[in-house]
Amino acid sequence: MSRFTSALTIPAEKLEKFQTAAHIGGIVAAALGIVSVLLPWSYAHEALDDVTYSAAPSPLQYNYIGLAVIAVVLFAAPLVLRKPGKARDWVAWNTGARFAGYGLLATGFVGVAAIGIESGGLINVDPGGWLALVAGVVGAVSGLVLFRSPEPSMGRIKTNTIVQIIAIAGGLAAVLFAAAFALGLSGAGAFLFYLTFAAFLALTLVRTGVFGWFAKCAADNKKILVLAAFFVAFVFPFTQNGSDANMSIATQVLIFSATALGLNIVVGLVGLLDLGYIAFLGAGAFTSAVLSGSLYSHIHWHPPFIVTVLISGCVSSFLGLIIGTPTLRVSGDYLAIVTLAFGEIFRITMNNLDGSDGPNITNGSNGINNVPELSFLGFNFGDAHQIFGIQVGRFANYFWLMLLVLAVIMVVFVNLNRSRIGRGWVAIREDELAAEAMGVNTFGLKILAFAGGAFLAGLAGAVKAHYDVSVTPDQYVFLESAFLLAAVVLGGMGTVMGVLIGATILKLLPEKLRFFSDYRLMLFGLLLVFMMRFRPEGIIADERRQLEFHAEDEELAEDVQEELIAYHDHFNPDAVTTEDLR
């Protein structure tokens, strides 16, 4: 044990006598928070989606109450559970309480700040709002004083499969509800407030160890989890009451995620830095638009969409081959420069294929407009439909189509990763020369990754052309490549979940925080700098990647090994056991 057992650098002896006070302080803070929502936070209706009523909390404030109740439980439990025992060891009460305290402060602060900005001055903050801020300060200080808990053991509890499945279902339902709720918020302040709340709630759950238990449930029932997650995504449009605005964002998120997953093969698995990846999405989109039967297209051949999709993928991967064959002999910085240039060459070429010097294929900077809506067996993607008596609009149709494409891409990614090809890729990333000397076809595998990733981006591009209705060269600028790369790095290179989360964050935030659009790049720059400083392996870390970034961390290496053993036992229960190792 270190001399400082709390988050403060004050010796433990000096803090010892304040422990009970801190627990009580936390409970008081949470109680103050609950009292505050019974008062109006502001009389300005426009702030925080209306928090003007007394004794009638707004939906947003109910979330805040939830956080406060969790804080009460976490702060109070150690007072009740004085004897060491299972319930005491399962959960890291104190550590969780600290983060719940931080959460109260952060939400209180964001709430007051949002009221101040949205209603034109802190003068409009009413006693309720100030009380929430005070509650936050008390909560955070109490949390800081608390000693850290020992490692929670909840992640190691053996649970009945049925209970695990119910937990998965509950967790996913909560995610669906939270996503629907977040998208339904109209004001930017309210959205930020909710985001702060959700982030700190998640952090609290992670720190208490409850999340570890969920992770175990998920790991034990991977197939069910994946199917359930797709089901949740599938029913998402039904929660939107036919609203097109949110479905449009959701579809963009899916397109962005699918492209980022393709890039993840190149960057995350093989370790090649590609700065022009958006060109492959663009190639797919242009191919699809040209073959769509649009009046603006100069090629009067209109194959069925399923054919167009495959052609788009092939055109993209052909471009991948063209750029990859000569350049994949160089690596590192050189490859980054070459691909960066390729992205620009693609955009400028599309701009110049306007018939003035050469063939007219893309109408130059006007692009190809009026790409017709897709239609399958009489099901027109452009129309709103009644399904189970619920109205779903145009964007929901494309959402479902994109979900299918994303599923295909995920299967390709995961299955390739777990094959001789995936092992070869990781070997190349670890030590290219040794891989070559062990008979791995390094050049062929790099080309395969490049062309394969491009193919997947081409698939996504084919749908994007119809979704966007018009395809123009200026949609495919370098900035988009940078954003794709940021999504991969932010989420976690080499992982599926991480990249999905990263892509969602990078696509959703700018849509919801329109007022911030001028500072968007600055915000992402800061975000990336902080990520690289505090968690370079991304939100969800690939086990191997994590080791590369924390090479000196022996404890982490042991953990990862445990995980790999568990993973291995899970898939080869009959194989030679690893008992001796433990």
Binding site: V411, R420, I421, A427, E430, G439, A557, V576
Partner: protein
């Protein structure tokens, strides 16, 4: 994906049993002649040693054989065929190597490391892998089984799921040998397999190399540990300043005054254990 040629074990060996035949291999880096006019034969089932003071060009010669360098002059034939100057194709042809400074895939488990070695003897392509076709599943199963056998062969069966970076040094050396064996070689090239080992580990390595020879493989080994090399090898080549100084059976080379001079530099002092230069 390019298809791998048939496993090397089926390839014919020349009638006189010469597996590796290097003739007048020269490697010139600008004005520096690292390897000059070296000729060497390795017969099937033979253990051949390659010794020489630091900087004698032993590893450079290895790199010429395994396709990392393209020799400036000279020819290398393997089992009667000229060796292609690409490391990967050399492995396909049936020659695998280890590295002087261990080059394992550190963040992969021991088993995965060996399975990378199986890469060149398996054929399932991206299509097989994506759709989990029978060929992919059969090859995955076989590769796993074979890799576990090889781990057991080198004595690492209990460490299959250990990340290779967490293995002790001696185990890493053995894992590198297992990875090379996974490519089904006919000739194994070991670059200082006992560097940094204690006497106990060195004896185990010696035993392992004998067992590899008993599998029917030829072994070409670079070493500095003289006791190790003279008890192990059927024939020894001594390389000095890029050229073969002496070649012959262990005791002949051991007692050759020129070898002693090259190592120790003082012909009057004769020590049995002229360890290292």
């Amino acid at each position: 994906m390019t298809a791998a040629p048939a496993p090397a074990t089926d390839a014919p060996v020349t009638e006189d049993g010469v597996l590796l035949d290097a003739r007048n291999v020269t490697m010139q880096f600008g004005g520096l002649r690292a390897v000059g006019d070296v000729s060497m034969q390795v017969h099937a089932g033979e253990i051949v040693g390659l010794i020489g003071p630091n900087g004698a060009g032993k590893t450079t010669f290895f790199n010429c054989l395994t396709g990392l360098y393209k020799p400036t002059a000279g020819s290398v034939t393997f089992a009667g065929q000229p060796l292609p100057p690409r490391p990967r194709k050399v492995v396909y042809a049936g020659m695998a190597r280890t590295f002087q400074n261990i080059r394992l895939f550190h963040n992969m488990t021991a088993l995965e490391n060996v399975m990378v070695g199986r890469y060149c003897r398996t054929k399932s392509n991206a299509f097989d892998a994506v759709f989990r076709l029978p060929r992919h599943r059969r090859e995955e199963r076989e590769a796993t089984e074979r890799s576990r056998e090889l781990l057991a062969f080198v004595g690492l069966e209990n460490k299959a799921d250990t990340l290779s970076r967490n293995l002790p040094y001696g185990d890493q050396r053995r894992l590198e040998i297992a990875r090379a064996l996974a490519t089904d070689p006919k000739l194994l090239l070991l670059d200082e397999p006992t560097a940094g080992m204690n006497p106990q580990e060195t004896r185990e390595a010696e035993d392992l190399i004998f067992r590899i020879r008993d599998l029917g493989l030829a072994v070409l080994v670079i070493e500095h540990d003289m006791r190790f090399i003279f008890s192990l090898c059927d024939r020894v080549y001594c390389l000095v300043r890029g050229e073969v100084l002496v070649e012959g059976a262990g005791d002949i080379v051991q007692n050759d005054p020129r070898v002693i001079e090259a190592y120790i530099g003082a012909p009057t002092v004769v020590e049995e254990d002229g360890n290292d230069a």
